[in-house]
C-alpha cells in the first residue's frame, strides 16, 4: 500500500540525455508539487523481450519497477527507450498502477524521426513531459479525463499527445488536492 508521498523518483534505464531529464523534472516538480529526483537504474531488459513481437513486455516491467525500485513514500517512474507492449495492445507509451507507487514511460515512439520527419528535440521533450505527468497522475489516483486539453486525456497516438496540454485541468487538479 502506498504511504504518504514525499517525493518523485525518475529512474532512467538505458541512455537518456541528462539535460532533457533535468528540464522535464523542473516542470514535473512544478506541476505536482513534490521534489523530483533523477537517477540511473540498471536492469537486464532481455528477460522482458518478446521475440515474437520484437517488443518489451510493459506489464512485467511495471511489476519489476514496483518490486525492485519503488518504496512506500516515493512515486517511482521507470523511463525506457525501448518499444513497450502489453499483451492485448500493439504498443503503449506508458503504464502505471492506479493509486500505486510504480509507473513506466518509454520515449521510443516520441521521436519525430520514427514517423519519417525531421528530429525535433523540443517536441520530444514536450511529449515526454506530458506522458510522465500523465502516468504520475494515475499514480496519484487520477483516471482518464475527457477535457481535450487536460494532460490526463487518454491518447493512443503521438498526435493525441501533441493536441493535449502539459497541465491538469481544474477538475483533475481539485482531485489531486
Amino acid at each position: 500500500m502506498p504511504g504518504k508521498t514525499e517525493n518523485i523518483s525518475l529512474i532512467s534505464f538505458g541512455y537518456f540525455d541528462r539535460g532533457l531529464l533535468d528540464k522535464v523534472s523542473v516542470f514535473v516538480e512544478h506541476e505536482l508539487g513534490f521534489p523530483v529526483r533523477i537517477r540511473e537504474g540498471f536492469l537486464d531488459l532481455s528477460e522482458f523481450y518478446d521475440p515474437a513481437r520484437r517488443q518489451y513486455n510493459g506489464t512485467s516491467l511495471l511489476k519489476k519497477i514496483e518490486s525492485d525500485f519503488a518504496d512506500a513514500n516515493t512515486k517511482t517512474l521507470g523511463l525506457f527507450n525501448v518499444d513497450l507492449f502489453i499483451p492485448i495492445l500493439t504498443y503503449i507509451f506508458g503504464q502505471a498502477f492506479l493509486n500505486g507507487n510504480a509507473g513506466i514511460v518509454s520515449v521510443y515512439r516520441f521521436g519525430n524521426e520514427r514517423y519519417g520527419m525531421k528530429p525535433d528535440p523540443e517536441l520530444l521533450a514536450s511529449r515526454l513531459r506530458k506522458e510522465i505527468i500523465h502516468e504520475l497522475g494515475h499514480m496519484f489516483g487520477l483516471i482518464h479525463c475527457t477535457d481535450p486539453v487536460c494532460v490526463m486525456r487518454s491518447g493512443s497516438y503521438v498526435e493525441d499527445i501533441d493536441q493535449k496540454g502539459h497541465d491538469f485541468c481544474n477538475s483533475c487538479r481539485q482531485k489531486l488536492i
Binding site: S60, F85, I88, L89, T90, A96, I143, H144, S156
Partner: protein
C-alpha cells in the same frame, strides 16, 4: 451516462487480465477479472456487469460456450469476444450467438477504447430508451383527467399539492373512475417524472407471481424462471411504483410489502443479494381499506404506511357537469385514432348521457362513445348509437334484492302506500308485503 460502467475480463492468461485491468481502471471503469468461464459465470450469477470481454480459447469451457450460457443468464448482456487466432468461422459463430463484437489480439489501443466506448454508448442508449418508454407511457392519457366540476377540481388541486412530495398515496374510488390516471398525473408532476412509473395490477396475479413480479427472480428460482429478471421495485428505481387493487394482496404479501416500504431493500426470489431501490408508492383500491383494517383483513401498520395522503376520485354520477367535456374529449380521441373527421353529438343524445347513472363510470362512458363512433354514420352521434335505453329496465341494480326493494318502493309510491292495493298489484298477500317492507326497511316519505 451518470453511473460507472462495469467490465468483466475473462481470460486464462494472467498477463492479459492484468493488462486489460490496468487499462480499463485508468479509463475509470469498474473492472473484475475471472481466469476461466466457470468463475466468470459465478460472478455473473451474483452481480450485474455491463460488458464482458472474453477470450475464445480457454481451457475447460471455451468462450463460445460461455457466451451461450451468459446469454441464457441475461440475454441483454454485452459480450465482446477476443482471440489471438481469428478465423471467419469463429467470428461469425460468436456474432450469431449474440456477441456484441469480435476482436483479434493484440488490438490497436485506439480500437479497444472505441470498442468499449461504443458498447458503453449502447448501454446508455438502451437505459435511456427504457426510461423514455416508461415516461411516454406515464405521460400518455394524463391529459384525459378531464373535468371542471368542483369534485374534479378538488382532485386536481390535491394532485398539484402532493405531486412534488415523496409521500405515499392511496387513491380510492369506484371502478372506472380513473384512479390510474390520477396516479400518472401525480408521477408526471413530481420530480421523479424523468424516471419510470411502473404499474402492477395486484389483483391480476397470484401470490407467487406477484412476489416474482415485484421483487424479480434469479434464474432457476422456480419452473419457468429461465432468465434472471428485475422486479418492479428494481425497475421503479428513482421513479414511482403504482400498485393497483392493493386490497387484493395476501397477508403474506402485506408483510413483505411492509418490510420493503420500511427498508427500501429486498431480495430477488431465489437470490441472496440485497438490492436497494428508491421509489415512491402510489396505491389504488375500490374497496374500503380502513373497513378492511377494522375487519382484520388488511394490516393496520401497512395501511398507515401507505395512507399518508388519500385522494378520493368521485364517481361520474356525482359530477354529471363533466359529461359534455368528457364526451367531447372521447369523440376527439377516437375520431383521431380511427382516422375519421371529428364528429359531434346530438343534444338529445348528450342529454340521455347526462341522465344516465354510469355504474361503470368513465370507462363505461368511454366505451359508449367508442362504440357509437364505430357503428355510427360518421356524421353525428345520435341516441340510436347509444346503448342506453336498450338495456333491461332496472339494469343499474346488481342484486335481485336491490331490484325487489326498488320495485316494491315504486309500487307503494304509485298506490299511495295503500298496502292492499300494492299487494294486489304485486300479486302477493298483505303479510308477505309487510314482511318485505320490514326486510328492506321501507318507510313512507313525508
Amino acid at each position: 451516462m451518470g453511473r460507472k460502467i462495469s467490465i468483466l475480463i475473462v481470460d486464462d492468461e494472467e498477463s492479459v487480465r492484468d493488462s486489460l485491468y490496468n487499462w480499463f481502471i485508468e479509463d475509470g471503469y469498474n473492472v473484475e477479472c475471472a481466469e476461466d468461464a466457470k468463475k466468470a459465470l459465478n460472478i455473473l450469477e451474483a452481480e450485474d456487469l455491463d460488458i464482458i470481454l472474453a477470450d475464445i480459447k480457454m481451457p475447460g469451457m471455451d468462450g463460445l460456450e460461455m457466451l451461450k450460457r451468459i446469454k441464457a443468464l441475461r440475454k441483454d448482456s454485452i459480450v465482446i469476444m477476443m482471440t489471438a487466432f481469428a478465423t471467419v468461422d469463429t467470428a461469425v459463430q460468436a456474432l450469431k450467438d449474440g456477441a456484441f463484437d469480435y476482436v483479434t489480439k493484440p488490438f490497436d489501443p485506439d480500437d479497444l477504447s472505441h470498442l468499449i466506448r461504443n458498447a458503453s454508448k449502447q448501454i446508455a442508449l438502451e437505459e435511456e430508451n427504457e426510461i423514455l418508454r416508461e415516461k411516454l407511457v406515464s405521460l400518455e392519457n394524463v391529459e384525459s383527467l378531464v373535468g371542471k366540476s368542483e369534485a374534479m377540481r378538488k382532485v386536481l388541486r390535491e394532485i398539484e399539492n402532493i405531486a412534488p412530495s415523496n409521500a405515499s398515496v392511496i387513491i380510492t374510488g369506484e371502478s372506472g373512475t380513473g384512479k390510474e390516471l390520477v396516479a400518472r398525473a401525480i408521477h408526471s408532476n413530481s420530480p421523479r417524472r424523468f424516471f419510470p412509473l411502473v404499474s402492477v395490477h395486484c389483483g391480476a396475479l397470484t401470490e407467487s407471481l406477484l412476489e416474482s413480479e415485484l421483487f424479480g427472480h434469479e434464474k432457476g428460482a422456480f419452473t419457468g424462471a429461465v432468465y434472471n429478471r428485475k422486479g418492479r421495485f428494481e425497475m421503479a428505481d428513482n421513479g414511482t411504483i403504482f400498485l393497483d387493487e392493493i386490497a387484493t394482496i395476501s397477508a403474506k404479501m402485506q408483510v413483505e410489502l411492509l418490510r420493503v416500504l420500511e427498508t427500501r431493500t429486498f431480495v430477488r426470489v431465489g437470490g441472496n443479494k440485497e438490492i436497494s431501490s428508491d421509489f415512491r408508492v402510489i396505491c389504488a383500491t375500490n374497496k374500503d381499506l380502513k373497513g378492511m383494517v377494522g375487519a382484520g383483513l388488511f394490516r393496520e401498520d401497512l395501511f398507515y404506511r401507505l395512507n399518508v395522503v388519500n385522494i378520493n376520485v368521485p364517481p361520474l354520477r356525482e359530477r354529471t357537469e363533466d359529461i359534455p367535456l368528457l364526451v367531447d374529449f372521447f369523440i376527439r380521441k377516437y375520431s383521431t385514432s380511427m382516422n375519421r373527421p371529428v364528429l359531434s353529438i346530438e343534444s338529445s343524445a348528450l342529454k340521455k348521457l347526462e341522465e344516465f347513472s354510469f355504474p361503470g363510470n368513465i370507462r363505461e362512458l368511454e366505451n359508449m362513445i367508442e362504440r357509437a363512433i364505430v357503428v355510427g354514420n360518421g356524421k353525428k352521434i345520435t341516441v340510436k348509437e347509444l346503448p342506453i335505453g336498450k338495456e333491461a329496465p332496472g339494469a343499474q341494480y346488481e342484486s335481485l334484492d336491490d331490484i325487489e326493494k326498488n320495485h316494491i318502493k315504486a309500487i307503494l309510491f304509485k298506490y299511495g302506500w295503500n298496502i292492499s292495493a300494492a299487494a294486489k298489484a304485486l300479486k302477493v298477500d298483505r303479510v308477505t308485503l309487510y314482511n318485505k317492507i320490514r326486510k328492506y326497511g321501507l318507510a313512507q316519505e313525508e
